[in-house]
């Protein structure tokens, strides 16, 4: 993957610095940071240095002090933004696992899956798959950062889920690979990050939130809360999307990806809520608010994406 297209003054300056390695990053730190989309693509690229990187950026820049400093500054602003969007959630009652499932169940947001099941056109579904590919081609990677930051109980619980996500040792069953096969069979590009220039700010925020939580140890509670909400809102929507793809005659490989998630995420939601969040909160009850922050962020960012997408589609 090459460095994405710049979306404003900050990303223009940053991507230039990443490619050309100037001695000083003055232009980057002087750049205006008021454009949300510009800031999010810059942050996404900084995170990407820690995943698979860019062909036109020296790998040595992963831990460049200026890149780290900028990432830290942008992350601080982004975390404040995410926290400012949190609803006032009443304190969750015991048992925590049932309260967490109820919090997700009571959330009523616009549903991309229902739209895909009943109304979406083939072109609209292909558009959705391009947006989802930014995450699904690195599926489960952001929360993998959390593993070495956990004590034995929650670490083993998280790995029990991650092992399944990563195909139980069989690359043919690795979820990101299943999605790539579905993309190929649907006539879409399968290279990692291929559609980054097409995605709206809502998708960048969804991806950046997962990296923010995964790459900052102090936010481990939020990372696991996000995982729980993500898994708990996946199985039934996956059935709806699989039904929509079948209705439109899309590739069976892509249908298979969603069908796998009906069954897998019926397991994963129980693990994420009960054994993963359950074990970390048993050890560190003080992380309760952070777990809820992760849950709410996941639900809120999907609402924002779904609203944007369905609003746009309804005017087509």
């Amino acid at each position: 993957m090459l460095v994405p297209k710049a979306r404003g003054e900050l990303s223009e300056a940053l991507f230039g610095a990443l490619r050309e390695r100037p001695s000083a990053w003055t232009a980057v730190f002087d750049a205006d940071r008021r454009d949300r989309e510009d800031v999010q693509i810059a942050l996404w690229a900084l995170y990407e240095l820690h995943y698979r990187g860019f062909e036109d950026v020296d790998e040595d820049l992963e831990w460049h002090p200026d890149a780290s400093r900028l990432r830290h500054e942008l992350e601080a602003d982004f975390e404040l933004l995410l926290r400012s969007r949190q609803r006032r959630t009443p304190a969750l009652e015991e048992p925590f696992d049932e309260a967490l499932f109820a919090l997700v169940a009571d959330h009523d947001g616009p549903s991309v899956a229902s739209f895909v099941q009943r109304e979406a056109s083939r072109e609209q579904v292909l558009e959705l798959l391009r947006y989802r590919s930014i995450y699904h081609l690195k599926e489960s990677d952001p929360v993998a950062w959390v593993v070495p930051r956990l004590s034995p109980g929650p670490k083993a619980a998280l790995m029990e889920l991650q092992y399944d996500e990563y195909g139980c040792g069989d690359p043919n069953r690795l979820h990101a690979h299943l999605f790539a096969r579905g993309m190929e069979a649907s006539g879409l590009r399968t290279e990692y990050g291929a559609y980054i220039d097409d995605v709206p700010v809502e998708v960048l925020e969804q991806n950046n939130a997962m990296s923010l939580f995964g790459l900052n140890r102090r936010l481990r509670g939020a990372a696991l809360g996000h995982l729980a909400a993500f898994e708990a809102t996946s199985s039934m929507p996956s059935r709806r999307i699989a039904a929509g793809l079948t209705r439109l005659g899309l590739a069976t490989e892509m249908v298979a990806y969603y069908e796998e998630h009906i069954e897998a995420d019926a397991v994963h939601e129980q693990l994420a809520v009960r054994t993963i969040c359950g074990s970390i909160l048993a050890e560190e009850p003080a992380l309760r608010d952070d777990v809820v922050f992760g849950v709410e962020t996941c639900l809120d960012l999907e609402d924002r994406f779904a609203s944007w997408l369905i609003e746009g589609w309804s005017h087509e």
Binding site: G153, A156, E160, S235, E263, A266, V267, Q270, L271, T275
Partner: protein
């Protein structure tokens, strides 16, 4: 006495209102006598009876009124 304790790690977990989780490899016989083999580290067996993917859970229990949940 050792300070490194042993964790609880049951082979089966009953999820209130939801499925039964089973760890490891199992063969599950459904009501028609058909054998289904588990394929993942943990599997979720439907307990509400309404799954469209029996014997596995597909989270249909969440759409049921509380009195019909297992």
């Amino acid at each position: 006495m050792s300070e490194i304790g042993e964790f609880e790690h049951p082979d089966e977990i009953i999820c209130p209102g939801g499925p039964l989780l089973i760890r490891g490899n199992h063969a599950v016989i459904d009501s028609d006598g058909i054998i289904h083999h588990t394929s993942r580290p943990v599997s979720a067996i439907c307990r509400c009876g309404k799954s469209a993917n029996l014997p596995w859970c597909d989270t249909t229990h969440k759409a049921l009124p509380e009195r019909l949940r297992p």
